[in-house]
Symmetry: C2
Subunit: 175 residues, 2 copies
Amino acid sequence: METWQAIDSLRVVRSFAARPLEADHLRRILHAGRRTGSSKNRQDWAFIVVRDRAHLAELSKVGPYAGHLAGAAAAVALVGSKRRDRWDLGRAAQDMVLAAWELGIGSVPATVYELELASRLLGLPDDQECPYLLSFGYPADLEVLARPNRPGGRKRLEEVVHDERWGERWAELGR
Amino acid sequence: METWQAIDSLRVVRSFAARPLEADHLRRILHAGRRTGSSKNRQDWAFIVVRDRAHLAELSKVGPYAGHLAGAAAAVALVGSKRRDRWDLGRAAQDMVLAAWELGIGSVPATVYELELASRLLGLPDDQECPYLLSFGYPADLEVLARPNRPGGRKRLEEVVHDERWGERWAELGR
């Protein structure tokens, strides 16, 4: 899949088939996170793979919108040092979800609201935290992989792009 | 370019050819940011395109490692609400740099240390801030686009992946 196609067609998948991820597919996703660039190349991250069904169910309680974890084929907990900007984790997550999408694997992020619960479930050291997890799996509904983008699902380009300074209309929009 | 190839081969480019970005290429990069998923689909971001040479030079003073902005064909300032987690901005940035890479365009992020200076140069409202900018341009040295990954440039998979809980070795590493 071409890179632009993956970026443009990627959508959230919350409902997954029961079968586990193929080992090569999981490894590819983890390598995508590992390969990501980071501030000063610090690579201040750990990726905890969770596949145990009971463990996934426990982790689905870390936030109000994390229920999808219970049905994931695998989750990847994104872990970094406490009080660090989460920009780098966001970059690694995007690489992982795009690499997955190219393989026909859907994903959805979960924001962790209960950081202490997540730390306990994942056995984290005191200086680490898990602000996000990603659910992965082959979609329950394979049609989602080819579904066209929903109109209005994103703001229009002219709403988010400014030219040189805030509030200045980008000159090339009409071209 | 296949998605995995873009993720795996992406490298930082700090030195750019003088020619401006083609309009279609710049638009593609901005659409990649716009298309990115965000927490609750908030899309709490603005992308300010900077191409004016004097403006780029001013922005290159926002941090100790931001000098590359002065030589960029274009920069994109990533703007979001103050006190917001930067995870979403990181995801949008990764989509932009991958979309650019597929088009033969290099990039490098700049961390903003002088947030007030950046706000003034970009004319931001009080509730917005710009923690990062991205420099884009066709590489001065085109050979960089096909250069193999530097050995040791990233931690090994077994250093960053854990199985179920922190410190547990991932079982499939050897397979």
